[in-house]
Each structure stands twice: as C-alpha cells, then as structure tokens.
Symmetry: C2
Subunit: 356 residues, 2 copies
DNA sequence: CTGAAAGCGCTTACAG
DNA sequence: CTGAAAGCGCTTACAG
C-alpha cells in the first residue's frame, strides 16, 4: 500500500528555479511576473500535473477572508413552509464548510410583491458579498437582477427556477416538464385509458406560475406521446383560493361519474383538492401532487393522495452552497447547475418521521 | 455581516495557562497529562465550546499518515456489473478527499466461493489498514469477519446487507422488506384487485438470497395489509438460470389467461423474465424489478418493464467512504449506518444517458 | 508531566 | 519583477 506523496508548490519552485511566492503568483494569474518566468513555471506545472492543495489554501484564507453568501428567499412564516427546507439545506452545507471559511446571510422578500424583491436585492448589493442564492419569482425583476449581477461580476444561483432561461444563469431545480411527464405515466397506470383526467391549477394572487404551466404541458405530452388513439379530453381546472363555492358546483358536475378519475395538482396544495373532492363526495379518484409538506404527507398516509413528487428543496439548498464554494475556491462552475431528479414518493417509501 | 473568529487551540492554552502541546494531548486523550491539568483544560474547552479545526489537523496529518481503506467486493468483470457502481462511488469519494489523506485499496473475491471470501479478508488483515468496506455475502464467514474485526478494533462497513443484523455492525443498504412493500403498491396500482400476481425469484448456484426473500415478504405484506379481503393467491416461481425449458412450460400454463398480470422480480434480472414472457407470448403483463443495469433500462425504455427500484450502489459506496472518513477523523460514527431510500424509476425519470 | 520549536502547503505583506 | 519570512491552527518529536 504505497503512499505517493503529492507534489507541492515547493517542488515546483525548485524545479522552476524561482521562489514559492512566484509560483503562487502564477497559479493565481496575478500580475507582476515576467512573461518568461510565467511560461517556465506553467510548463513545470503542466509537466508535473501539480494541483494546489486546497486544504492548505483554505487554512490560510479562512481566517482572513470568509466567503459571504447572501440568501434571498420568500418569507418563511413557520417550519412547514417549502422554503424552510431550502434554508435547512443551505444551513447544513454552511455548517459542514464552516471552518473552511464560508458564511450565509439570510434575507427575505414578500412573495406577492415584486418591488419588495427588487428592493431586497438592491439592499443586499450594498453589502460586500461573494455570491447570491435566490429564486426567480418575478420575471421582469429577475431579468434586471441577472443583468446587475453580471455587471457586478457576482455569481448568482437560482433555486426552483420557474422562468425560461433566456439568460445564461445558474439553476438548481427540477425540470417541470419532465415532472409532468412522470405524473402522466403514474396517473395513467392507475386510471387507465377509460378514466377521466383533470389538471388542477391552484391560483394565488400572482395567477398561475410558469413551472405549474410546464408541469401541465409535460403531463399532456405524456398522453399524446404514449396513447395511440388519444381521443379523450384532459380537463384543466383553474382553482382560485377564494370563491370556492362556485367552483365546487362546477366540479360536482364535471367529476360526478362512475368512471375512475385521475387528478393532477400542479402545485404543492394537492391536500386542498383532496379535501374538496372528499367534501363533494367524489369517489374513485386518484390524486398526484407535489412536495412533501405535512398536510400532503397526511393524505398520502391515509391513501387520499396516491403519489407525491419531491423536488428535494433541502438538497437544492445544500447543493447551491457546495457548488458555490467549489466555484469560489476552485473556479470550477460545474456544480452550479443541477437537474434535480423527479423523486416519486408513495406511502411505503415516504418518511413520516416529522409527522409526530 | 460580522465575522466572529473561531477560538483556537492557542487561546485555550493561554486561558488554561498551559502550552498548546498540552492542550493537544488533552484533546486526543493522550497519556502524560496530570489529572489537575487535564481537568483545567477540559473545563476551558467546555466553557468556550472549542472544537478543533479539522482542516488544520488534516493538513498536518495527511502527509504523514494517509488513511488506508480496504475495499473487498465480488469480482467485477465489466462496467455493467452492479458492483462496478459501488466501486465508482467509492472512487469518487476518495477523489474528493484525496488531499485530506485517504486512500482505497481494492480487493475482489469469487462470489460463489465462501472460502475465497475468507481467504481474501485474511490476506487484507496482513496489511496495515484503517477500515474495511465489504459485503455480507456468506453468513458464516461474515460472522467470523465481524468477530475478527472487533478483535482487531477495525471499523467495518457493509454495503448491500443481505443478512439479518444479529451483530451490531455498520450497514449502508436499502431495507429490502420496505422495497418489497413499495413494489407491492406500485404493481397493485397497475394490476388491480382482479389480476394475477407472481413473484419471480431467480436462483444462482448459491440458491435464493436473503434480501430477495425479504423483498418477497415485503411484497406479500403489502397485500395483506392493504386489501380488506385478501382472497387471491400470489404465485412464487423459483427460476433457476439453467433448465429453462421445463420452466417455460409451467409458466405458459400458469400465466396464460386474459387477466392482467403483475410480475415482481426480486433481483436484478427482470430483463430475463421480461424476455422469457415475451417468448412465451404472455400478454397483459406488468413487470417490476430491481437495479438500473443496461438490459433492465432497455426494457424500461421499450415499456416491457414498468418500474425499476434503484438501490443506488454508487451512493452507497460514496457514503461509506465519507462516513468512514468522518469516523476516523472525528470519532463520529453517525454516518456509518444509512438507510438507502427506495427510489422508484420509470421511463420518464430514468437516466438513459449511459445507453448511448 | 510539560514546553518550545519545527513543520504540513499555501498566501501575504514587505523589502528590494 | 522577485524573494525571504511570517503565519493559518494543529501535531509531533525532542528536551527537560
């Protein structure tokens, strides 16, 4: 079990016949090195395959320059909020990297107010930060943010992207179209060709969100691609959070048949739909929704919801910090973009441990 | 954004009025410190909440004492083998921790020969190693290994446990019973109450493996727990790899009805079952199996297999190294035991990128 | 039983 | 443009 000692900056210095300070300057592309010296050092580095020891580097730097990551998320009122989980993942990663010199600073914006979002990130830019993790909630303001970050040369990572990436930015999020396709197959397996299908979009004051639209598109695409004769209708129901009575009447008419029914809820509130259908005495209904919030998990446990799709917000936050750290310390951007797997959760592989 | 400098060994030394060498001795519980000094230092450490900086510690130690992890897996003939993925995960983690001073040494045993397994680990014990990662293939030899490792005070981690854990050891593996329950619900969703159900156990020279048995038990348990009137039979078919002709006759008789059929293959060879049923012209069949090997993925893509359950062998290997590193450097054993999630894979969330 | 000093591999003022 | 020296926080002989 042989131990081959890694070559270090000292060896490079000897081989290139310069001081270690000069090697360091070349390594970091700093100014103040003659062209010939630089070439000589680079050649030796190339030949020896030298990589600088990041642990030693961080040991020196952690005490002087802690990396400051700003995190701007929607307001979190309690631990059941989706964004709480993103935050938890961020905290976990920061904890792990703590002694290597990284800190997170948390900011929040009002999820219904684009102006507040803009105000928040402008405020953040007044501090000295090394990167920003946030969420592309509002199209126009997000575009402005992207431009501004580019200008400031500030690395930017979006969690849970809901916007089309016209701009080249870093995204750690699930492909919503693909998630819709997954939902299509799962529901089709339960309901079959002879059932009725419904897509429930739950609207808040901002209207329907882009990723919900993409989920619906994916869902419909599954049926178009996989059924030879695609001759049945998939009903879309846009359900505002207020004014439920009228909606319930419509639903009773639409869903009141003996047929097996499949319901795809495109956001995190499938528990609302489940409860409403129960109230309306709709039977033979199979529901699939998103996100492992407590009310959803309860309905999964009681068999009222059949499938949940997990976007793994904790893992998203965790990965964002780890990816940024790698980028900021190694100039390696490869982990700043991540396609979060479409994780399928049923009663038997769910983790109910937080339900106490 | 305030930076609170972490307290270090130097501050502790000053506060306790001793040298840093003495603080270090106390931190590591080494001999040669008077009781009173030790108590004084421990009190200060307690009061300040000091934690030693692991990065600095590893910087010093990596060059002198590289941690040697032995890995003993079944022979891997090519990249399609299941164990290749465990190895890949191990390699990835070792790569990440390379400069922190960890190395893996790979050994292989004949998967059909318990004596060879025993011989292999005895040979490994002649080297100086800090931990062993292996697989509990053979009951008797594994028990002996556990005892021997205990005697040598050598940390031991099992991947893919197939044995009941009578002994307290470290296991990174999926709960096979739970995986069987998951398979039960998924298949039941497709096939319904009026179909026929079959469990295929594929036997090699070692007979049926314990985790396959546990999967079957979980599968049956799902139906017993979830169907009010559990009045249909689940047929078990033990399928040896040789002597297929006779088997095909039996199968043709058993499965040749118009009913929808659900087939649960308890190991990684669901592709074999899929192909055989196709040859026998069995229709209306829904297959669920384990592991994302290439032939299984091909059948998933062509809709011949409906679900695959992933044990994530790469993640298992990766976690074993990370967990051992944490244990060996921080005496923190919390990551040496891991319940791998039962990951559900369908055509739409599968990664076919390795299929070229 | 305890301390002073050297060193892990890199980074950073400072001096020239 | 370049080098020598101090230092990051811990560990390890060595000396007493």
């Amino acid at each position: 079990m042989n131990v081959s000692k890694n070559i270090g900056i000292k060896e490079i210095a000897v081989l290139a016949n310069v001081s270690i300070g000069t090697v360091d300057r070349v390594l970091h592309g700093r100014t103040g090195v003659s062209k010939s010296t630089k070439a000589k050092v680079l050649k030796i580095i190339e030949e020896t395959g030298f990589k600088r020891n990041l642990m030693a580097s961080r040991l020196k730097l952690a005490s002087s320059k802690t990396l400051q990551i700003a995190v701007l998320l929607p307001e979190i009122k309690n631990e059941m909020y989706y964004w709480h989980h993103s935050n938890a993942g961020i905290k976990k990663a920061v904890q792990e990297l703590n002694e290597q010199g990284i800190m997170a600073n948390y900011f929040y914006f009002n999820r219904l107010d684009p102006k507040n979002f803009k105000k928040s990130y402008n405020m953040i830019f007044e501090h000295e930060i090394d990167a920003l993790i946030t969420v592309p909630f509002f199209e126009k303001e997000t575009d402005e943010l992207i431009l501004k970050a580019e200008e400031l040369k500030l690395p930017l990572v979006f969690l849970d992207s809901m916007l089309n990436n016209k701009n080249k930015t870093n995204n750690i999020s699930q492909n919503s179209f693909k998630a819709g396709m997954v939902a299509g197959r799962l529901l089709h397996g339960l309901v079959g060709d002879c059932g009725q299908y419904f897509v429930f979009n739950i609207l808040n004051k901002r209207g329907i969100q882009i990723n919900n639209q993409q989920r619906e598109m994916g869902f419909r695409a599954y049926f178009e691609q996989n059924l030879k004769e695609f001759d049945f209708e998939i009903h879309s129901i846009n359900m505002p959070l207020e004014n439920k009575e009228e909606l319930e009447k419509d639903i009773q008419e639409l869903l009141n048949s003996d047929k097996t029914k499949g319901v795809f809820v495109t956001n995190a509130r499938s528990f609302l739909v489940s409860d409403m259908l129960k109230e309306c005495c709709i039977s033979n209904v199979n529901i699939i929704g998103f996100d492992l919030n407590l009310p959803n998990l309860e309905r999964l446990k009681s068999n009222d919801i059949k499938f949940l799709i997990n976007q793994n917000p904790e893992f998203q936050g965790y990965s964002a910090i780890k990816g940024l750290f790698k980028y900021l310390t190694e100039q390696d951007a490869s982990e700043l973009n991540l396609d979060i797997p479409v994780e399928i959760i049923i009663k038997e592989n769910a983790d109910f441990s937080e339900m106490n």
